[in-house]
């Protein structure tokens, strides 16, 4: 199987779905000839033209609303929000419109729109270009929230998101764009695969601890698990892949097996994704727990710009190793 970049996998997913369905189109800032801030849409305009790969004015709220308006009358727009931080400008159209229409109009319409948006730090972009705000969208009924960790899942989940009849917040990671992963050739057997929304995946299996992560933190968790295995601590790593609807069954099955849970997220700890996972683990797996669940998450601070400060604010494999070791030692 060939290896391609996470960003290429996303581009392939869009190109294949645009080939497959004339109602699919992409709109956003600087996505045509420029190819998007992270070059994810590069080459699409040459193939599909400027009507379907549509540069927009800098108007995030209306870009998202246009996506919703086109979706309810039969199109399948993919809205490109250049940085997840900018999605704050579009909260009204996403929260009050995209998320509500199907329910509040009595099921008369469907809202098949995807909001693609890169989250996370690690590139020294500073406080307004590095946030991980996905927890906000988990809180809104009606939205699906997807956050792939690998090139394979990025492609398969984006194809599922485009085909889904609901609004999907598709969380990408700036640092993962340049990471390669195995993805089948499109014309190979199984090349037209999709990855279902709503299913987590166990990527490492072990006995002592469940590490739950998503997006870029999955790789950090796997590195930590591999290192911990050298010291005799074996871990399940659960890659959530979808944050809403959450695959609570896969989480519970793993935590019930290992009896311990460590939740790793790149967003801020307070009221973050990890808080919800922790609550679910506590509610649903309490009788199986041999130790209190623990969290490794970003510091409750704006993401700083300077490399040293940013590294200190965001979690990494070493933080996970330290937290896991402490947890095992304390409750063995």
């Amino acid at each position: 199987m060939r290896e391609i970049y996470y960003s290429w996998a996303l581009r392939e997913a869009m190109a294949e779905e645009m080939e497959r369905d004339p109602n699919v189109f992409v709109l956003g800032e600087d996505i045509a000839e420029y190819g998007g801030a992270f070059k994810v849409t590069q080459g699409l305009v040459e193939k599909f033209g400027r009507a379907r790969v549509r540069n927009t004015p800098i108007s995030e709220n209306t870009i998202c609303g246009v996506g919703v308006g086109a979706a309810i009358v039969g199109m399948r727009p993919i809205v490109d929000i250049m940085f997840q931080d900018f999605i704050t400008l579009a909260m009204d159209q996403i929260v009050n419109h995209a998320a509500k229409f199907h329910y509040m109009y009595g099921g008369q319409c469907r809202v098949p729109v995807v909001f693609r948006t890169p989250a996370g730090g690690g590139r020294c972009y500073g406080p307004t270009h590095s946030q991980s705000l996905e927890a906000w969208f988990m809180h809104v009924p009606g939205l699906k929230v997807v956050a792939p960790a690998t090139a394979y899942d990025a492609k398969g989940l984006l194809k599922s998101a485009i085909r889904d009849d609901n609004p999907v917040i598709f969380v990408e990671s700036k640092l993962l764009y340049g990471i390669k992963g195995q993805v089948p050739e499109p014309d190979a057997d199984g090349g037209d695969y999709t990855v279902p929304i709503g299913e987590a995946k166990v990527t490492r299996e072990g006995e002592h601890l469940t590490i739950i992560a998503y997006s870029r933190m999955t790789g950090e968790a796997e590195r930590a698990a591999d290192a911990l295995a050298q010291n005799g601590i074996t871990c399940d790593v659960v890659d959530l892949r979808t944050l809403a609807p959450l695959d609570a069954d896969t989480i519970a099955a793993s935590v019930e097996k290992t009896g311990r849970a460590l939740i790793v997220c790149e967003d801020c700890k307070t009221a973050g994704v990890s808080a919800e996972i922790m609550a679910r683990v506590t509610e649903e797996c309490f009788d199986f727990l041999q130790a209190p669940p623990r969290r490794v998450a970003a510091a409750d601070t704006p993401v700083p710009c300077a490399d040293t400060l940013e590294k200190a604010a965001l979690p990494d494999a070493q933080n996970i190793i330290d937290a896991a070791t402490a947890l095992i030692q304390q409750y063995s």
Partner: protein, 349 residues
């Protein structure tokens, strides 16, 4: 400001058509009057924003649209719903919180839609419908370009109310909002985007002078809302929104521009809501004299006079409309309460 003069197009509308439009306006009026009573007596819970006084705008605009055309509405959307062809009993049922409402009781007054007639929804967020309408217009344009390569399409005019003078080549979209909504960022973003892309859309600003309690001149800069059109390089006009024929004349041109691929139009309809902003509003921010003055320019009375309707004919029509409202209330009252649903099964499509 120079409101467009009234130019009765009774030449292009048959007596039957005129009667249909007058009846629609009267239905909206009587529907809203009944609602006011039902809210005051506590029969209906929640809140509502009554459209009475503004009927010529919704009716005039929708009289030039077919079910293939889309509209988006506001928090004050009952009039738009009825004018676009939505069912009065269904709307009443929604207001009663019944399962037979278009939104099955989930949406209520500010959140109804009827996709079968192209009514994409009333909207509880001020000016929230403008981006939605812009997106619908983009979809219309993209589909036309796909089908014909040049944006022209023969859809066939299925609406008997439409005059044949309007080329029915392409669907169009009308987005209603208030003069208060014109101060939202979505107004600027949507007009700019629609103008850049030459979308088939009408931006219908219903200027009823008050954004809740805040008077136009306290919150809006510039000579008129319509004057802002120049900033986007599109056509704009101030229209006497109490004059059904003036509304139609302005909308007819705008619809033609939209259908011919000449892009959006901004129309500012001068109008007045007879009731307060919502049911709890005592209207302390405006004078009774001002209200009386607007009542002398009542859009229904004006249309009756313009077409020379006999008092007896009006009374007969009114009695029929009142009966329709009675039936709507009876339908709503006799409809089932919505069942508490398994939330997870209805949240997603």
């Amino acid at each position: 400001m120079h409101p467009a003069s009234s130019s009765p197009d009774s030449a292009t509308l048959s007596p039957q058509e005129l009667s249909i439009h007058l009846r629609t306006m009267l239905l909206i009026r009587r529907f809203e009057e009944r609602l006011d009573e039902l809210f005051a007596s506590g029969v209906i819970k929640g809140t509502s924003h009554l459209y009475a006084g503004q009927e010529a705008v919704a009716t005039g605009v929708c009289s030039l649209l077919s079910h293939d055309d889309y509209i988006t509405s506001t928090h004050r959307g009952h009039g738009h719903f009825l004018a676009k062809g939505g069912s009065a009993p269904a709307l009443m049922a929604e207001l009663f919180g019944k399962a037979t409402g278009p939104s099955k009781g989930r949406g209520g007054s500010q959140h109804v839609a009827d996709y079968a007639v192209g009514f994409l929804g009333s909207n509880g967020i001020t000016a929230g419908g403008l981006p939605i309408a812009t997106g619908a217009a983009l979809a219309v344009q993209m589909r036309q370009q796909r089908e014909t390569g040049n944006g022209k399409r023969e859809t066939g005019n299925t609406n008997p109310r439409l005059p044949t003078s309007i080329p029915q080549q392409t669907a169009c979209v009308a987005s209603f909002f208030g003069e208060g909504g014109a101060n939202q960022g979505t107004f600027h973003e949507s007009l700019n985007m629609a103008a850049v892309w030459k979308l088939p859309i009408l931006f219908i600003c219903e200027n009823n002078l008050y954004a809740m309690s805040t008077r136009l001149d306290e919150a809006s800069s510039g000579p008129t809302i319509a004057a802002r059109a120049a900033g986007y390089g599109i056509q704009g006009a101030v229209v006497d929104g109490t004059d059904f024929f003036a509304v139609r004349a302005a909308v007819e041109k705008a619809v033609e521009r939209a259908r011919c691929g000449d892009g959006p139009t901004l129309l500012e309809m001068h109008t007045y809501r007879y009731y307060g902003h919502s049911k709890s509003d005592k209207r302390e921010y405006r004078t009774r004299a001002e209200e009386d003055d607007w009542r002398t320019r009542d859009c229904i009375e004006k249309l009756c006079a313009a077409i020379g309707l006999e008092a007896a004919d009006f009374e007969a029509m009114d009695a029929e409309v009142m009966r329709e409202v009675d039936e709507a209330v009876a339908f709503a009252q006799s409809s089932a309460e919505p069942e508490v649903e398994d939330w997870e099964s209805v949240i997603y499509a």
